[in-house]
């Protein structure tokens, strides 16, 4: 059971949260202009990294805010949480 720090409410059990998968998938600005394959890329294709991952979570049973986490998909270590719209934090194994 992960312990996730909501940027607002602090550490809470994983069960209070809803996981929204990969973060920073931007909705295309002009969907009709996209070829089918590009649209499929937005709707279905996902990074699914083995290692550090930026992902979205929502504090469903608490403040109901969405936020982002940097989490390792092998160790489950959480490097930190950041707000939607905040600048992209580097991943812990990325050179600065």
């Amino acid at each position: 059971m992960l312990l996730i720090s909501c940027p607002w409410c602090g550490p809470r059990d994983e069960t209070e949260f809803h996981c929204g998968g990969e973060a920073h998938i931007a909705r295309p600005l002009d969907p009709p202009a996209l070829p089918d394959a590009a649209w499929a890329g937005y709707v279905f294709m996902r990074d699914n990294p083995k290692g550090w991952m930026r992902e979205r979570w929502m504090h469903a049973q608490g403040c109901r805010r969405w936020f982002n986490l940097v989490r390792h998909t092998v160790t489950h270590e959480i490097a930190g949480a950041y707000l939607v719209g905040a600048p992209l934090p580097p991943l812990p194994d990325e050179c600065p």
Partner: protein, 198 residues
Amino acid sequence: MADRGTTILDPLAAAIAAASCEEARLSRLPLVGQVTLRAGRDAVSLAGVALDLALPTEPNRVASDGGRAAVWLGPDEWLILLPRGDVASTVARLEMALDGGHFAAVDTSAARLGLALSGPAARQVLAKGCGLDLHPRAFAPGDCAQTALARVPVLLVQRDEAPTFWVFVRPSYAVFLARWLIDAIAELRLAPIPGLDT
């Protein structure tokens, strides 16, 4: 209109009263007025002025004042608890004060029912179904939290050092939650287990 209010917990009144014991007293809170206030950054302080009650901006804190309280629900969301009769006028005052700002004040007086649990074993009772750290070091009077109790979404407010907790719950879940609480309290009235000293 308040006098006409009935709640789904009414039929459980006797069972709730009977469940209480020295260590943990369970009761129904009287119906209170509730206003859910959503306010953008521009509207927070104005809302405080209109309410004459500063909204807590520190997460999971409650600001109280006489018969009213402002409960932090989210960075742009509060629950204002107030006498039922004051709801309409308060909403109107907010609408006036915040006119043009980004906000929403919605009467949700009937969208949650309150239970009170107090007594030295109150924490232990809640801890049977709540993963929140309820220790006084972590959750003190004036603190609040939206969380899950017995897998039901609740709003917990820690009132005093008795300790007393208010448990607000959606009416649809109230019967289940009350039954669960009654069940959780039951062991406090039993003779202790021989050979178990914890």
